[in-house]
Amino acid sequence: MLQYLALAAILFAIGVFGVLTRRNAIGILMSLELMFNAANINLVVFNKYIGPDNLIGQIFALFVVVIAAAEAVVGLAIVLLLYRNWRGIDVDHINIMKW
């Protein structure tokens, strides 16, 4: 079980790193997907090892996949609009919502 959890943790850390460091908005979205999947792995693993009789964890993971797809749609729509307005998707440039 530890191996799975470690995998999830590594995957999550990679996702975080990606979110924090990528300049490309698409890249950030992709890193976010990694973090979702890390969480999914955790859900499935805990379901398997702690309460294999019910399927709450797995069903939850399925929900997450669906919601993530919806989130990706929204995120990509935002990115598309960003591109249209800024002619670029470098998040360093997109800081108009500051003080």
């Binding site: 975080v16 460091t21 800024w86 998040v91 440039h93 108009i96 500051k98 003080w99």
Partner: protein, 688 residues
Amino acid sequence: MLEHAYFIPFYPLIAFLVIIFFTRWKEKLSAGIAISMILLAFVHSVFVLIAMLGRHGHPLELSMPFIEHPALKLELGMWIDGLTAVMLMVVTIVSACVHIYSLGYMHNDPRWSRYFSYLCLFTFSMLGLVIANNFFMIFIFWELVGLTSYLLIGFWFEKKSASDAGKKAFITTRIGDLGFIVGLLILTFYVGTLNYQEVFAKVQSGAISGGLLAAAGIFIFCGAVGKSAQFPLHVWLPDAMEGPTPVSALIHAATMVAAGVYLVARGMTLFAGSATASMVIASIGLITSFMAATIALTQNDIKRVLAYSTVSQLGYMIMALGLYGVDLAHGHHTAGYVAGTFHLMTHAFFKALLFLGAGSVIHAVHTNDINFMGGLSRKMKTTTITFFIASLSIAGIFPLSGFWSKDEIVASTTGHPFFMVVTLLIAFMTAFYMFRLCFLTFTGEPRDKERFDHAHESPKTMTGPLTVLAFLAIFAGWVGLPWLHHGFSSFVYHDVVHHAGPNYVLMIVSTIVAVSGIGLAYAVYYKKAISADALADRFKLLYKISFNKWYIDEIYDAVIIKPLLGFTKVLWWFDANIIDGLVNLMGWLTVKWADLKMWFDKYIIDGIVNGLGYICMAGSWAVKFMQSGSLQFYALMVMAAAIGIMLYRVTSIGFYFYLIGLVIVALLSVLVKMTRSDRVDAEPNIEG
């Protein structure tokens, strides 16, 4: 008619109201209303007199309660007895004569209607005063008389001397009225009623006596002193000559000054209850009479001589009434009461005649100064004859009315030798100054040719009343002939009827006195056998005292008016400097205190508020850089927070790590952002 005698005062009141409110612009109509109403009052008075004669002077009282309380009873009512009936006659006759006379005297006056309305109000006040049945009512009408006399004396108010005289009359009589009201308060307090008969009953039953009664009597007498121009409040009457002459006649004969004598006669039981009060009254009367007579000797203003003559005669009446009170207090009934009221009546007629005659003279020569007259008998027959009749009457020559009444006054001094001597001396002086006036005015050569040439007899409206009054001046006294047992004395009786039989010795003595006074005047001013100037030089001091009216006005000026003015100046200074200074100081202090508070508000309170604001601004300035707008920075913060929370759960230092980390991150972000602020941010391209 008798039961409705209370209506008599209302006739002139109605005339007054109608004139003032409706007919002011129609002068002839106004005068007509006034005269017809007065004549109505006169006719009614005649009926009342006849009815009273039928009752042999048995009094009638009608009253309407006004306030009924054990401690105080006030009422409106009328009390008719012989004295009232006589006074009603006197007032209405003289008033009617004055009204008619004024038609001629006041012609072309711009305030003609107002003049007649005032005369009516004056007559109303006096009639009300006469008919009243209690001291409360008499006081009301008393004040009304004072008001109207003020209005009439100052009628020609454009003249400063006239308006001053009006004020003087009002204020001087007001001093007496203060005494009157104090007396009334004493009565209300100790007797509880002001009705004449009830007060008298209480006095006779001894409910109020001794010093208290004397005080009440003397205080009430103060009112009479003011109104009847007795020493020391006589100063207003000579000045009141500034009013129109018919008004002077009215004031001097029938109304104003008669009110005081009437009050003393009416309140006789009260005054007689105290020998002290009566003695005060008699003494004041004597002093006044003597002083006024001496002053009248040397005056050159025709009206002023008559004014002092009035004061002197009023003193006579007051003295006679006072002596009656003294005798009554000692248990004797003497002639004084009858003498006083009798003289009041006869004097009213001949003094009105004298004043109206003087008015006629003034109308002709347009001056009051007898130095500019002389020889007028050639031009003014009626005036001269009537004036001489009145003078003979006031001098006390048989058988004119003044003879009988003066005789009674002299008779009333029986038992008081000093009073008798002075009274005879006054009678002598009266005869002298009256005939000095007559001779200087009507006989001899005219001293002012121009004025003499323009002089003419007055119109019928003026000589008519003169004739009527001349008849009265002759015959009115006959109702009190000493041979009549049911004459005046039994009609106006007071207490017990006292009838003095004829006293031939007194008659002869007083006639000798009067004739010698006239003879001296004849010698000095007609024959010029004795030079008046030489006499004046001979008795220079006496002449000066007399000519300057005993310096009473000057004394008042020096003793009362000057110190009063000085005192008011001191008070003014005190007001202007001390009081105002204090007020201004308080104001200055308040302003300064407000300044101080303003400074405190501005710098301390506002400073705190603004300081808090600045602190907030500074703090927020430092913190605002955390909101960088950078998505990844926010994510980093979230991560840091999550890590911090996890560390906190695992170790105890996590919380501090979290805080320190937060601060470090904030500072870092500030630094980062400030160093990168040179970077050109992408401009939003808003195209849709």
